[in-house]
Symmetry: C2
Subunit: 308 residues, 2 copies
Amino acid sequence: MTSTQSPSTESEAQRALFHQFGERLTADPPLELQAIREMFEEFHTLAAEPTQVCYEEVDAGGVPAMWCLPVGAAQDRVMLFAHGGGFVTNGMCSHRKMAGHLAKAAGVRGLVIEYRRAPEHPYPAQLEDGITAYRWLLGQGIEAGHIFTAGDSAGGNLATTLPLKARAEGLPLPAAIVALSPWYDMEAKGETLVSNAATDALVRPGLAEGMTAMFLGETGSMSDPLANPLYADMAGMPPIFLTAGSWEALQDNADRMAAIARSAGVDTTLEIVPGMQHVFTFQAGRSPEADQTIATIGRWVRPKLGLG
Amino acid sequence: MTSTQSPSTESEAQRALFHQFGERLTADPPLELQAIREMFEEFHTLAAEPTQVCYEEVDAGGVPAMWCLPVGAAQDRVMLFAHGGGFVTNGMCSHRKMAGHLAKAAGVRGLVIEYRRAPEHPYPAQLEDGITAYRWLLGQGIEAGHIFTAGDSAGGNLATTLPLKARAEGLPLPAAIVALSPWYDMEAKGETLVSNAATDALVRPGLAEGMTAMFLGETGSMSDPLANPLYADMAGMPPIFLTAGSWEALQDNADRMAAIARSAGVDTTLEIVPGMQHVFTFQAGRSPEADQTIATIGRWVRPKLGLG
């Protein structure tokens, strides 16, 4: 796709929903956290039900999780999926359909983890839960090289920091990382926060900062590489696929990580899709951009897992 | 179960969620309709994902719908499921899991219809959409005698009025009706509205009345038998299975329909489960009461569809 290509008609539904959410997030009086959580649960309405996928709730070593089980998927290959929502909202139900589409495209089972959320459980609870689920997968006999991490927004952060933390703990690394519209920049330094402020319907000034405060709590640091991997040493990390929309306020999170990973010698793929909003893959099964990116990720990741 | 049996520990989760919803519904200032709709979407969190069920969105003759496709289900037998929510809230997504459990227990494909909602579309839009989906199923080659209607609350009303309307239009009747905590009583005359007011955590005074006003709009009648089948001639209707919780404000909707149907010679089964809330089958896969009732319904309906 070229940068002059117009966004699809179908993608207008996401812009409209995000605009409505963005308006409500900036209303006075401000929404209660519970109301924001309920609102963001509606993200799932953007996706179509993936066909030929079954589900099964599971206790992943103490972390609630959901298997997305595409018919015919390789049983010994797994996508470990972390949902987005600023580490504060959403869960395995709101992201089940998007994860189901991704698992199906990759030809693997998908494990969507429901990590503890901030502010009740600030950093590093989320990363701890991610590592617990990863250890649980290894304990189930799944080889690290047959696992890839994936996630959107805050989940894209977790999909990236999980291998960093695994390395720190002496665990074998997964085969690949997929970060969809990742949110890394805890300092809110990104240029696209300003340059794309007019085109991002959802991520308005203050939203990320508010979530950062809840995520990091009283003790977390904005430059901790396991909370903000723009500060991480990515050398030796597995191949990474980054995607974002060109209309996103958080677009340059993906850009900057791509530059950092490439500099560190990581096999890096960056795809910026014109005119797309934050986590445009929410429209899995509904917009051509979402479907094309998901298909691309499937083709990219399968050989890394030893799948044809 | 006897009336002295205590509700399960697991069922406390539904009472707690309903109590929270009930409090918010009666707060001052009152919630906007949009907020009520978002809140009620959370009903689905009460149910576990049914295993071995896939999904597929479908256009059922113009009515958006979702197939729940249990692995190994009879392909030529169908549950036509209408969701609850006072004809005003909810949709195929909030009821997908409960419908999936029911379809699996019955050994059939489930079609969850997303009928138009009030107040944007008052009565009879919901019934029209139900009939459209029913005609569509017949047009797909599914025999009427291989279909049963099912629904909870307002959807239990629709599951009951659909065969009445089908008869009025000269269509063949489905094999059975399953009404889960049905809401029929548009006049709010039920004794349990008072006698169970202290035990029903969700359905508080005024809630049903408010939904009735939206459902019937300016022209509907509270005693129209196709809106309030407590006024219907049930003679000749298919076997009906009614269930409700003994702590429900709407309990006697099921009681009264059972009496009406029996008087009319209809094969009628009524199951009142002690200590249960409105639509306790929302807890499918999570509470023993929900699972037992769903299993009972499966055993009840299969022979009526010619299944072993």
